[in-house]
Assembly symmetry: C2
């Protein structure tokens, strides 16, 4: 039993609509609207996701897990710097999927109470291993920290979002940033 069948169905419906709404209107999309689009009462939405953050969390956790796995798969790459850059590119692209999301990523990193924190930390540590490997190979300056790196990339992703040609701008900014990271 645990969960009733209709509850499970509504949960999935809400999640799908939330994903669409956040992609369309950014992270401050109307939750009433999400419920409406899912054909469900507003109370039902709040029953399943007590806060807006809970909703974001559900969406972002898979993001984080994917990034962690990606980082781990890159740990055996020959070119450590290229591996790091590839991962940072995907991190930035993932952040940009929903407007306003980079802010949530950083907030989750900061707030240890956040339920997102765990999966976010796991992702960060996978990224840190990638960084350390590149540093050990002398490809990245030793004094660069993982926190700094994530903040940097989040900032670039954010700035690119605002530009006329986001993808192109992100590419330029990432390239410049990588130059600053090398010894």
């Amino acid at each position: 039993m645990s969960t009733r069948a209709d509850a499970r169905r509504n949960y999935d419906l809400l999640l799908a609509e939330a994903r669409a709404a956040f992609a369309e209107h950014g992270t401050d999309a109307s939750l009433r609207d999400v419920a409406r689009r899912a054909g469900v009462g507003i109370g039902t939405l709040y029953r399943h996701f007590p806060t807006r953050e809970a909703l974001l969390e559900a969406l972002m956790r898979s993001n984080f897990d994917g990034l962690r796995e990606h980082a781990e798969s890159l740990l055996t790459a020959d070119d450590t710097a290229a591996a790091l850059q590839e991962w940072l590119g995907r991190l930035a692209a993932g952040s940009m999927a929903y407007r306003g999301l980079p802010e949530s990523v950083l907030a989750a990193l900061r707030d240890e109470q956040s339920q997102l924190h765990e999966s976010c930390v796991a992702m960060r540590e996978a990224g840190a291993r990638l960084l350390h490997r590149a540093q050990a190979a002398g490809r990245i300056r030793a004094e660069v920290t993982a926190d700094e790196l994530l903040a940097l990339v989040s900032g670039l992703a954010w700035a690119s979002e605002q530009a006329r040609h986001p993808a192109e701008m992100l590419d330029r900014l990432l390239t410049t940033a990588m130059r600053g990271l090398t010894p």
Copy 2:
């Protein structure tokens, strides 16, 4: 005559309260609250500033003008790269004065209809002269554009805002960025 004395007074009161409110609650502070704190009806606020952007504009224009003047005064500095870095630091710090403002800066840069656009462009061009001078001196890579530079610094300012120690983080990120900008 032109404007009545009381209207002028209310305008100034509103502007002062708006500045305080934006600094305290970010750029989405409650306008009703601004009017309340200024001891004025909400209608009066909207009479003077038809949109939230108009209010931001009035506040930011002085910011931009100050940045432009600063850039111009740095044009005669001996160390072109240091001059650029100093100005970028002030740009970032100015952006961070109000949470959420960097986004408005970039939006104004993008939107040519914006009333902010003119003063923003003037500031950007003053910054661009600073950049070109450093490039001519061989201190900054030639292919870096002014747009890219402003986006970069805005992104770093934004990311720093989110960090635990904003000022310190901004310093680290700016240093890394400058490294990426040098040939």
